[in-house]
């Protein structure tokens, strides 16, 4: 288990946290919904091959994610049902916050990063567990790929 405050958030996630902090409480859910709508459609081969991705079991909704590494740059692809907008929003935030980083930078993201986004008041601990599970699985994939 990591020290939650030891490492700073990468710039993308720090920007998300700052945006939520600057948004009045009553508008934060709308902002979260905007993130949900920004989740990118899956590219091939994942669009037709869900089995090439990893299911995030900690999430109560079917959430699948994969971390691709090309030329030392990580790309995150993820999908969740339309009827699970909160899950889509977390996936979208991780996609925006982690894509473009190097594997080392992704691995340096603190495990508690989802809890530092200022969303814990809006959503339940169970919902946050899905988000931390998503990050952990992405990091595990990146670790496995960089060791191999």
């Amino acid at each position: 288990m990591s020290e939650s405050t030891a490492a700073p958030l990468p710039p993308g996630l720090a920007a998300v946290a700052a945006e939520f902090a600057d948004t009045p409480r009553e508008l934060r859910l709308e902002l979260l919904l905007e993130y949900a709508d920004r989740l990118k459609p899956l590219p091939e081969p994942y669009a037709s091959r869900e089995d090439l991705m990893e299911r995030v079991e900690e999430c109560q909704s079917p959430l699948f994610a994969v971390a691709e590494i090309q030329d030392n740059v990580v790309s995150i692809h993820a999908t969740a049902p339309q009827e699970s907008p909160t899950t889509r929003a977390f996936a979208s935030i991780m996609q925006l916050g982690l894509s473009g980083l190097t594997p080392a930078e992704v691995l340096a993201v603190p495990a508690s990063a989802p809890l530092q986004l200022g969303l814990t008041e809006l959503v339940s601990p169970l919902r946050m567990r899905g988000a931390t599970g998503l990050l952990a699985r992405i990091q595990r994939q990146v670790r496995a790929a960089t060791i191999a």
Partner: protein, 295 residues
């Protein structure tokens, strides 16, 4: 009693409390009925914002119904304030609906009953059926005039079981229904190295509980099964009877609210309590008895 008429759908008349359900057709025709408020309650807290039944208000199980600090529900003042904000009066007919086959809708309904709110009904089939039928949805949030809702005591005694009471129930060999999936019931673990750990330290079930996954009470479209099917499951197969003292539980009490609703309103069981601490409390507690395996 309520001035809002009951839904005369024939299927509902077979249930112990026919007025506890409304159909999508009935609701669509009664949306603007004075004295009726539609409440959406979902697992996914953003779903209401993506679109909801016109005129409905949102009640979130976590941010509205739970105490922000202690693991408990809001108190009488908090509930009265919530009702006031949502424009609900003590005599309002409240129709609940939500995602996931109405788990959270049933959960919210159960919490309303803890405070003695009288006229509560569930939309048969929930959000899933309303959407599947292509019925109107809107993103417009209604502005309802604030009401004066009386501060009403929360009567946990009849409808809610605490851990200590469940333990007494175990020792007295009382009836219990575990509504989780068979894998959760048996205590199988699915963790792998390096994966985040589940939130409970032990798997399995409360000794003596019978496994009846909540889903057995529902059809694929999210509606409830007919009374004959329900009786065959809970009474025929599991041997429960309407005057038994029954405790239902799941992981945090939402799926078991669904079963609590079935036993109480559809089958007419008189003494059903929901153990909302459920497995997330029992499976973490020290020295409580646990059984593993399919039986």
């Amino acid at each position: 009693m309520s001035k809002v008429p009951f839904d005369p759908t024939p299927k509902f008349q077979e249930y112990a409390t026919p007025g506890a359900l409304v159909s999508t057709e009935w609701l669509a025709a009664h949306l603007n009925t004075p004295g009726l408020v539609v409440v959406e309650s979902d697992e996914d807290t953003l779903l209401y914002e993506t679109g909801h039944i016109p005129g409905s208000v949102k009640v979130d199980w976590h941010t509205d119904l739970n105490d922000p600090v202690s693991r408990d529900y809001v108190g009488p003042e908090g509930f009265a304030a919530l009702m006031s904000r949502k424009g609900i009066s003590r005599d309002t007919t409240v129709v609940f609906y939500g995602d996931k086959s109405n788990w959270w809708a049933a959960y919210a309904l159960w919490v309303f009953r803890l405070f003695g709110h009288e006229d509560v009904r569930l939309l048969d089939g929930g959000r899933q059926k309303w959407e599947a039928e292509g019925r109107e949805m809107t993103k417009e949030v209604p502005t309802r005039a604030a009401t004066t809702y009386p501060v009403s005591p929360r009567n946990d005694r009849e409808l809610r079981a605490y851990r200590e009471q469940v333990l007494e129930h175990v020792n007295a060999k009382g009836c219990m229904v575990d509504v989780r999936s068979p894998q959760e019931f048996s205590g199988e673990l699915t963790h792998m190295p390096d994966y985040p750990q589940e939130g409970t330290l032990r798997g399995g079930h409360i000794p003596g509980a019978k496994s009846v996954p909540w889903k057995r009470a529902a059809n694929d479209d999210g509606t409830f099964k007919g009374v004959a099917d329900l009786r065959a499951i809970y009474e025929g197969e599991k041997g429960l009877a309407a005057d038994d003292d029954v405790i239902a539980y799941c992981r945090i009490g939402e799926r078991s609210s669904h079963t609590w609703f079935v036993l109480t309103y559809l089958l007419g069981f008189k003494n059903v309590r929901n153990y909302d601490g459920s497995w997330s409390e029992w499976g973490n507690a020290v020295r409580l008895p646990i059984a593993v395996g399919a039986e």
